[in-house]
Symmetry: D2
Subunit: 296 residues, 4 copies
């Protein structure tokens, strides 16, 4: 049983904290929205009036925040937790942020003997609730080992990607590739449709050939081809275009910093930016298919 | 036992014809290179001095030729076979050509009561030899049914894509998507490497996440990640860059004619054209990875 | 004074023929729409009931048709004019078609001692009316010289691009580049706007710097920056998106056939195809700016 | 006559400072390389042992540094000049950096009543020496007015782009557009060459048509078309690929932050990254033409 401080109780953080409580851990929670805190307290969490008090007894701190600046400020800002945390505390940041900020945060904490891993997730709200998230972890082997039992409570696939920052890099690479699979599958399906093919038949052929990929096989973007996926539910639910656009921005930041060439990833970023501007930010990211299938 | 005339005995056509002979069919072969003919004759084929004589007793004609103009000319050119073929002959064209030419050829033959299906393949020389090719077939249901037993001899997955031309469209869609998977996977892997990740670890993570796709999972382009793939053999063998470039040209022709938008497919065509110009035409198409991994 | 047969009296062909009449030439016209013929007859043209009769006395034939197949069929189809034309007739095809068809047509006519130049135009309906078109001509030097006096009547800038087909290639190259200038200028302007810049100020800066280009300087796509351009008239008039999409298709055909790498041109083709599908085919091609400037 | 402190005496900063000296201003210089300082001292500059002493009497501070972090640190870092500068000092930062850092620096200085403008340049080493640079300035109108006489000494075209940061945005937009013009012109020219056209003739045609743009008209990337440009001097001199790649990185940072769609700009960033990796970082940026023209 571990004493855990949990910051950020949104769509993802809330159910993640709930799973830790269910597993019998002592969880003290914090969020700017009182309603979010109340929900967790009803499930057995404690809370406190200030971040410093929230971490008072914490052996582990977990954060799930919107962007890099929130993470850095929480730990190392003017009123950062760094002054309140005990030596040897383990910080698990599950926010999706740029790896540079993850590394900078880890370095700032290290000089106070506080351990840090970056552990962004995939799997969406459904995975957070079911405790089946994937975690991509960056950090020292020993810290990964310490965190593993807690990550197992919240997720199913726990990957150790490398040193601090590597979790964020792995997620950026995966989601950039995911966006490419999605756009590529969409334009290939529509090319077939435009030439008279049935998208079900074409999907079947390509899934059993070298065109096989996650978006075609289990998340088909063409309405009517598969059941139980967002494309057959007006693109509701799933992984929002806005979030994909955010992740592609992080991937581009990473690519620019490392002087990496990402022609397809750069292009999907711009196509998802156009898709957002067309008013599709809240739809599932497979709705990019509609850009190709629209009829004049 | 069927009497088959087979035109085009190259790297693909040769072993395909050989499998038909092994299965007990009477095969009369033709090719402009006598050595290619001799090989098949040694295996039990017959031959003849002119195309007209080759098809004299044929119930089925199979062609495996480099481009659309060769196919059209063979059947409908000035000395086209159309005049020599019996009514109700079944023509199976396994060449990879544009669907427009396939449709035009089918129409020309139809007025002479000759049946036509387009049946391009994937699976490479290894698949042709092993009889494990995939066939993507366009044509009437009855013609597909007639051809099926012969295709089963040469291949493993036999798909009926739709009407005449649909086989070519399906192949163009699949190979365009394949090129996108390959380039996307290559740039994602290199982005990880440039940021300190081990490509084996990153491949493992993405293959078990939403980045999963055929090129990452079973044909990894990064040397040293997988065994038994072209990337671990100096990009020898496999599917040549020149052939991928040809198929992408056909996909672009198709997209232009149907006014389809193919941003990623158009871009991979240009990237493969650059890759060819850099002297990599004879390497496996996964060698595009080297464009991203080169070090200045 | 030359005896001219003119085929194709649409938005472009009509005013071109009218200018030849005004200059004193004998012009016999043909079009499938009687109204189009009537207009020219009212200006002094003659006509005839069949294409063969139209060319009866012609020293020069000019054609302005929608696509390559129309051009080839007019001259070399089953009822092609080739049988009716006198030896040494000069054929000037001003249609915008693929260079391969231009070359094939020239070769077919050459065996009957008929001369051919391809002479596609730019300058739009306004240029056709004012006689200020640009002609990009492919053909032998002597044929270019023969055609020059007539082209001078219809246009202002007459370029000799090279052998037969070179006129079409030059136009494809120019219009592909034009589309790149337009999309690039649009995204650069919007990037500035999104970051608080005044598009007038930014246009002024870039026009006086290395970003200077035809679309920025004289055809600005951002409404309100320049007067008297389509963007300040709801994108009415000018050069339609549908026509740019057609020309980009021809450029891609050309690039595929010559194995040329055209990453930006391939991408603008797909972006204009999306723009068409969004219902903008009849708007001026500078309306692509709206894709970037739309507000969610 | 103004008392100026000048930081950063590289290829650009050195000649800029020299022009200020020639114009009669008192210039106190600083650089980490003593040789660079010595050169300016020989021309009449003074120097000092620490940055604080360099700015002791300064009414104006000019900086020309490699990246945003250098600029921020110089003024606002642990030993930042902010503590040494007099109120009402005018800071002119001519470095090319991201606009976010420019804005952050301006804000930090403002609270000490120090004025800031961002004033990145274009025109290269030649322009710096000749005093013919273009300046793109962001900042308050009054500060722009104060700086103008000094900028006039170093440059020819002085643009006021808007508020603080707008100079950097304008430069990012312009150079992104410039890269698009260069790649687009290169692929259009090579498409023509691949189809038999003479690049001189094609350049002449497009320069006089709607393909006209700065890179085609005055900086032609195809060797042998123009004289006195880098392409006719083995791509030596001019504006290095490494610098274009840096500027495209800044443009992408800007686009990501403002959620702007930049399909062509994103693609040219990746193409220039590949070009760098091929070992062309020190060549002029027009050498991207060689990627398209290479012969297998």
């Amino acid at each position: 049983m571990t004493s855990i401080a949990f910051f950020g109780l949104g769509n993802m953080g809330g159910p993640m904290a709930a799973n830790l409580i269910k597993a019998g851990h002592q969880v003290c929670v914090f969020d700017l929205f009182p309603e979010a805190v109340d929900k967790l307290v009803a499930l057995g969490a404690t809370t406190a009036t200030t971040p410093e008090l929230v971490v008072k007894n914490a052996d582990v701190v977990i954060s799930m925040l919107p962007a890099g600046k929130h993470v850095f400020d929480l730990y190392l800002g003017d009123n950062g937790l760094v002054k309140a945390l005990k030596p040897n505390t383990l910080v698990i940041d599950s926010s999706t942020i740029d790896s540079a900020t993850a590394i900078k945060t880890a370095q700032g904490l290290k000089s106070h003997k506080i351990h840090f891993i970056d552990a962004p997730v995939s799997g969406g709200v459904a995975g957070a609730s079911a405790g089946t998230l994937s975690f991509m972890v960056g950090g020292a082997e020993s810290n990964f080992a310490s965190a593993k039992p807690l990550l197992d409570v919240m997720g199913k696939n726990i990957f150790h990607a490398g040193e601090v920052g590597a979790g964020q890099v792995a997620k950026a690479c995966n989601n950039m590739l995911l966006s490419i699979l999605m756009v590529g599958t969409s334009e290939a399906l529509q090319l077939g449709i435009d030439n008279g093919l049935d998208p079900k038949v074409l999907s079947e052929i390509m899934s059993n050939s070298s065109g096989s990929n996650w978006t075609l096989d289990v998340y088909n973007p063409c309405p009517g081809v598969s059941e139980g996926v967002p494309s057959s539910n007006n693109y509701q639910g799933g992984f929002m275009t806005d979030l994909m656009a955010k992740d592609l921005g992080l991937a581009m930041d990473t690519a620019v910093q490392s002087h990496s060439s990402t022609p397809l990833g750069g292009l999907t970023r711009s196509l998802y930016a156009l898709h957002q501007k067309s008013g599709n930010g809240k739809k599932d990211f497979s709705s990019i298919f509609e850009q190709f299938s629209q009829k004049n």
